[in-house]
Subunit: 615 residues, 2 copies
């Protein structure tokens, strides 16, 4: 396309953005209009993609980090022939594929859900990393960001990561329209301010008038030919460009244009330009990912092994059996034991340093390319990436997340290092699986099982050693549990997981010595829970006592209720959990202070069978 | 102190760090040793503080962002006479004030809990902002960071915020010892790499040999005299400095020295130097914070008002009555309605732009200085700051957090913008209060009540308009609820909050028309819950049906169980919550698709009284 055609295409994208938002009665046309020329030039001249074959391994990848500019994305899909005008006007309506913020659920050309700002570039870094380091593929990754979202620290985690990994297949285009939602951004149209920051982080930068299609074209070419570092294109644009009533004006974020028909006329009216997108450069084939026989590590009953160690060993074994497994670390691989994988498979180990948001975003990116990522850090620090996990679930992303150093059982390091809210966080994620093993063989089996699940899968590991309770050939289906003690005269049921399993068993031993029979369930699958076993325990023993190294809210105690939330009779419930604010102390002292060690459990049990109410 | 004395003091801090970790059998002596000279010079020559009066308004403030170097902090406290040697050796023991990572719970000289890296500088920015902008005070804020933690994006949110606010009362000292936990950092001893980044964000920088006490002294002086911008001191240091067996060596992070006695001898043996810390520069008085009569906004029953609007108006009124209230925004104040406060009290409104971690950290910082912060953004985006909220609860920080745009009820914008996990997140925070009002008058009362609570207080608001159900003089005690419908022949109880309250009332109307009497409870206080009312409803109606615009995990459905977790009989339970993944649709369509609108509630009720099991 020549200059005039590109300019016309930009106007068409504006017109269609305005029309889509007008039809919806909501949406972000002004944020679309600023970036319309940037998109026109990208899709007409540079982006290589087979829209008939979105899974083509050599396709370039595009991420709309400023997800609210979805009208522009959909207008572009219309211009390239992927959707028609009728569908464009279903924008934001119930049942439409064209959601308010893009998601890949129904649109195969979307790489990742966006709409929480500052996440598109981090995920783009993950995709580019997969292309460059894992696949050695030719594709390029293009990310369109807003200027406001550069205030998010996650953008700078991404900038650091991309430059460190020399991702010259990555280009970020920043639509510097100077206006955020509430008003002007910190830096307005000061392109240098943004360029200085990207340069300091090791990027090549280009500053450009984002409405000069030839200049934009040259900038993309410069990005294409820059080697050894990623490129940031800082484009000066005007929000609402092309319609005087809204152009460069405050207070118009996220609103359809007041006079849409007049605006369309001012933009020169509807057009029907069609863009022939460049085809991917190579035939391309999906990367070969050798798969072999899985030989999980095995431990004998009675050995003392930390579940974090079992995780590390199992992950390394899984990596040997499956070429699609990638491990990501937040600079604590020696503690989480992800380092065992690093030693065995350094080419599939990604050190993300202390940047948990970027770690999860990288996982989302490599998962989007078909890899199976396991991202691990301390359970406590996964809270740092909560919003990324939330958005990953909207993407339908397949991630294995592993949090170590769970609970007060870590001991002396104190509360800042203790995962005490992680089960609540992970259970509330849509479609998630939450696993909490108590011994080494169980851990190894669950680590392997995670690889074949959908959605967000979370495994919680512990720092200290614990006895191996199960043989290496025992099965642990997701959604199952293990009844470790049972009789036909159990007075109540202890429901435990992880470090509280041995404590519950010891408490049951003590109570049995006093003539009080107690059932013990190892609820290693916290979500989904084993409804049948819990319901049987409720019917047969009348009372469930949950014991967890976690806050009382959102963890094991709440999870057992999933078995009784349908209106059926509920058993009596007692919840033992961490209600204090721990300080520093030994692991045993911590469990005791929290009231979740064997002695505390036994004491609660005695009160219970004495018919006293435990408070 | 002269050069020799400062050097000796540095050695003493090393010796005491080694001794403390040796006595504990754990801890981070090598990370303490790298920064010992930096601390020696700071506390001997520059830091102004009255240790007998930690609340002195003119005291400088120090934040140990690399919280694992706590032995160094405590060794410094010994050197200044705040603790004695006997207490130093209680480090990390049960009951000791000297925890593995510093917290302010028992040590009045600590400003904020640290140990989750990348949080100290953000909180320091908040304290410096309070000093400069709210208090116009003379004190300086000094933050000691590790180099590894500069990978956290939160550090760059802080860097951006500090430079934008011209916080020349803030100095960050980066202990560039080149070694993280697992191995070398990305940039090793490349001080320029860090300096370039800080400069690009608008900071003054100084590069220095962190073991040359005179050079460090000059660097601090330069920071002191730099006007208009914050200063970053990049100090080249060696981890484990002074002990050949550990100095600058990998694999020794977080471990006591193998031969502590020999190490102490190599460092020249114990010393007993005492530092006279400079006194604060002025007598200083706490800032005057005028308090007047609170005139909350009032609405008439039947008006249609969005609770987010009521929040904004009530907060503005609260700000008029109380001079200690500060509002913080994540660049969405026009949506959350925090902007109403901005218009009334611009001097106490802090725009944090799209940087939720920094928004919460700023709140922690200003709260540490005695202010009462209200930080608000979309409920969904508060997940971005989860780790900061978690750490704030360890600090015992008093924060009001407000999340708007809760649930599927926002409509067309889609799931990325919907707070659907926020109740789970906030309930699991230790000592938190969680409020979810359904009408304008209730919102206003609860906004005011939040100011006087302890710990983390969370209020959830809604985007759309809803009917005013309560008169303006109604009381809404925290921990209470409202029984909106009740009879002596109720077949079950609907427990609702926020947007589901009008839906529950409409469902109850419909069912009443069919001869089915239903109790309705407005559970506006989600944590703590009103145990008495829930228990009475359970006894009298036998079944609780919770209805919430939130994921089934961790929200209202789990909250009601708090009333029955002590072993007492539990009622039958049915949980209506958002189990689907929403797309774009109108608010009404969204509520219906999620099965939480009046029609769905009534349908569930019919099944229930028909004795059918609802699945």
């Amino acid at each position: 396309m020549n200059t005039g055609e590109l300019t016309e295409l930009g106007q068409q994208l504006r017109v269609d953005s305005v029309r889509a938002a007008a039809a919806a009665g909501s949406g972000h046309p002004t944020s679309s209009m600023s970036a319309a020329d940037l998109m026109a030039v990208l899709f007409a001249h540079h982006f290589r993609y087979d829209f008939a074959r979105p899974d083509h391994p050599a396709n370039d990848r595009f991420v709309l980090s400023k997800g609210h500019a979805s009208p522009l994305m959909y207008a572009t899909y219309k211009a390239v022939g992927a959707i028609d005008d009728e569908e464009l006007l279903t924008f934001r309506k119930s049942g439409s594929r064209l959601e308010g913020h893009p998601t890949p659920r129904q649109l195969p050309w979307i790489e990742t859900a966006t709409g929480s700002l500052g996440q598109g570039l981090p995920v783009g870094v993950g995709i580019a990393l997969a292309g460059k380091r894992l696949e050695h593929a030719e594709y390029r990754v293009w990310v369109l960001c807003g200027d406001s979202e550069l205030a998010e620290g996650s953008v700078w985690e991404a900038a650091e990561h991309a430059a460190y990994e020399h991702l010259d297949n990555l280009t970020v285009i920043v639509d510097v329209n100077r206006l955020g939602q509430r008003g002007p951004t910190r830096h307005g149209h000061d392109l240098d301010a943004y360029a200085r920051r990207f340069q300091a982080f090791g990027w090549h930068t280009v500053e450009v008038d984002g409405h000069d299609v030839d200049a934009v074209d040259r900038a993309y070419g410069e990005a294409d030919s820059t080697k050894g570092q990623p490129t940031a294109i800082l484009a000066r644009t005007l929000k609402g460009k092309g319609v005087a009533a809204v152009q460069d004006r405050e207070g118009l974020h996220g609103k359809p244009l007041p006079e849409a028909e007049e605006a369309v006329a001012e933009l020169g009216g509807p057009r029907d330009l069609h863009v022939r997108v460049r085809q991917p450069s190579a035939a391309g084939s999906p990367p070969a990912r050798a798969a072999g026989h899985l030989e999980l590590p095995r431990w004998d009953k009675g050995e003392e092994v930390a579940t974090r160690n079992a995780f590390g060993e199992a992950l390394a074994a899984l990596g040997t059996a499956r070429g699609d497994v990638v491990a990501l670390d937040g600079e604590v691989g020696d503690s989480t034991r992800a380092e065992f994988f690093a030693k065995a498979h350094p080419e599939r180990y990604v050190e993300c340093y202390i940047a948990e948001q970027q770690m999860v975003a990288t996982a989302v990116g490599v998962a989007a390319r078909g890899w199976t990522p396991y991202a691990s850090t301390f359970a406590a620090f996964l809270t740092r990436a909560h919003d990324f996990v939330r958005m990953a679930s909207i993407s339908g992303s397949g991630l294995a997340l592993v949090g170590s150093h769970a609970g007060v059982a870590i001991g002396q390091d104190g509360p800042s290092q203790m995962g005490l809210e992680d089960l609540a966080m992970m259970r509330s994620v849509h479609g998630s699986t939450v696993l909490y093993p108590c011994d080494a063989n169980q851990t190894a089996r669950l680590v392997a099982a995670m690889a074949d699940l959908d959605g967000i899968r979370y495994l919680r590991t512990s720092r200290g050693e614990s006895p191996v309770l199960y043989g290496p050939d025992e099965d642990f289906p997701v959604g199952g549990s293990k009844v470790l003690r049972s009789s036909d005269h159990d007075r109540f049921t202890l429901v435990a997981a992880g470090v509280t399993v041995p404590e519950a068993l010891a408490a049951a031993d003590a109570l049995e010595g006093e003539g009080i029979a107690v059932r013990v369930i190892d609820l290693y699958s916290v979500k989904p829970v084993d409804r049948e076993t819990l319901r049987a325990a409720a019917e047969e023993t009348g009372c469930l006592v949950t014991v967890e190294d976690h806050r009382p809210e959102g963890g094991l105690g709440d999870a057992v209720l999933d078995a009784f939330a349908d209106g059926r009779p509920v058993p009596r419930l007692v919840r033992l959990a961490v209600r204090n604010m721990p300080g520093s102390a030994s692991p045993d002292e911590q469990l005791h202070a929290a009231g979740i060690d064997a002695e505390s459990i036994a004491a609660a049990g005695r009160l219970l069978v004495g018919e006293a109410i435990v408070s």
